[in-house]
């Protein structure tokens, strides 16, 4: 009797997941502006502080072990939310790239495919970082992992992308008024 109801519960959960993904699929595709906005909303300085090994060493030496574990867990959780946002920005860029990939213009399609590839690679990297940070949150006693390789470039790239976005807006306003 219980086994049958477990099956029914699994089926209902799966059906909910399927209906959710159907609803999500119908949402408006992302624009470059959405992607840049998400990227710019990430406070890289705060994120750097959260994963700084020196900061961690300082906390380890100045806090009692149980308090240190609590603080490290909280810092890991906060860092996960930053990395997750970076991953979401990458996913938005991937969405834009995949839209462009279906363009009848071969140059746009090729550029779109490249953007999608790059953004998906970045998304994978952020997911891996999230898993690592989650491990730190679960096992705070273990030594922290090295900061992700992409973080040094993140701030610079976000600024460059925003400049491009501003330029594009400016051009579209100029072409409309002309």
């Amino acid at each position: 009797m219980i086994t049958a109801w477990i099956f029914v519960a699994i089926a209902l959960l799966a059906l909910t997941a399927l209906l959710y993904s159907a609803a999500a699929h119908r949402r408006r595709p992302a624009s470059i502006e959405d992607a840049i906005q998400t990227m710019r909303s990430i406070d890289i300085a705060a994120f750097r502080n959260l994963i700084d090994p020196e900061e961690e060493a300082f906390l380890r030496s100045n806090l009692p072990p149980d308090k240190f574990r609590v603080v490290k867990r909280e810092r890991a959780r906060a860092a996960i939310s930053y990395v997750w946002s970076a991953g979401q920005a990458a996913a938005l860029f991937a969405d834009v790239g995949q839209s462009a990939k279906h363009s009848p213009d071969p140059t746009i399609a090729a550029s779109g495919a490249q953007i999608a590839q790059t953004a998906l690679r970045l998304r994978l990297q952020t997911m891996q970082t999230c898993f690592r940070l989650a491990r730190t949150a679960v096992l705070p006693g273990r030594k922290s992992l090295a900061p992700p390789v992409w973080i040094d470039q993140f701030e610079w790239t976000a600024e460059a992308l925003q400049r491009l976005g501003r330029l594009r807006r400016h051009e579209s306003v100029y072409s409309t008024s002309a």
């Binding site: 699929h25 995949q98 279906h102 495919a113 594009r168």
Partner: protein, 253 residues
């Protein structure tokens, strides 16, 4: 003919009539080249329906003979569905060679875990149905439905989390098949508990309705214009390369 039989007959015939329209759409839009396994599956389902329908009209065919035919077509249909799922996975990850390894490993693990869970559940599932063959096949059907709906939920969730946008056709096929497998899983589990005549009729209606919904989903997604193509007007042209260069800086520190 009472209203329950009439409803069941309508729900049995209508999805297959619509499935024929799906086949026409697949050929008219030349989608059989992208989805050969799905095309084969729809052709098979239609042919199996015609065969079973003819068998129900032949007075020489006994109930037991019909049951064997029904079970044989059901098993082949389950095998076809695995082919369709494999095809959707291929279709989604075809353009991303670097991503292929990730879902392949995950998929292998998913298949192993789901198959193990299906075997365990089939082993411990109550078999109140007196016909042993039917009970055994119901357990197989339940297990396969679990594996299939698990794989499709995994595919849709994984691509959602990763930011992979499925094209309308692949998404529609996956969604329809996912709903069909999920309802199959639920109804086959409930069949072991509600063995009364009324309960079986109700579950049959539920199964047939889900099949009708599934075919309508396929049809809807095959008829709808591609969402991605419609959105192209908002995209910048020459800047795309520059966006990509900037993004690549993140991967090459």
């Amino acid at each position: 003919m009472d209203w329950q039989s009439f409803l069941s007959l309508c729900l049995w015939i209508s999805p297959h009539a619509l499935l024929a329209a799906v086949i026409v759409l697949l050929f008219r839009r030349r989608l059989y080249r992208d989805f050969p396994a799905f095309t084969a599956y729809t052709l098979y389902e239609t042919a199996a329906f015609v065969l079973l329908f003819v068998l129900t009209r032949l007075p020489r065919v006994s109930g037991d003979q019909y049951k064997y035919f029904f079970l044989a077509t059901m098993v082949i249909s389950l095998a076809f569905r695995f082919g369709v799922i494999e095809e959707i996975f291929e279709n989604v990850f075809r353009d991303y060679q670097f991503l292929k390894a990730v879902p392949k490993h995950r998929l292998m693990w998913m298949k192993a875990i789901l198959a193990l869970a299906a075997i365990l559940f089939a082993f411990y599932a109550p078999a109140e149905n007196p016909a042993r063959l039917m009970a055994g096949l119901a357990a197989v059907n339940r297990g396969m439905a679990m594996v299939q709906s698990g794989l499709l939920v995994f595919l849709l969730c994984f691509s959602r989390i990763l930011g992979l946008s499925l094209r309308n056709y692949a998404f529609g096929i996956a969604l329809g098949l996912g709903i069909l497998s999920t309802v199959d899983l639920g109804t086959s589990a409930l069949r072991t508990q509600f063995a009364t005549e009324h309960g079986i009729v109700l579950l049959n209606v539920l199964s047939l309705s889900s099949y009708l919904i599934c075919v309508l989903i396929w049809m809807g997604y095959l008829l709808a214009p591609d969402r991605k193509a419609a959105h192209l007007a908002n995209l910048p042209n020459s800047e795309l390369e520059e966006w990509n260069r900037e993004l690549q800086h993140l991967l090459r520190p």
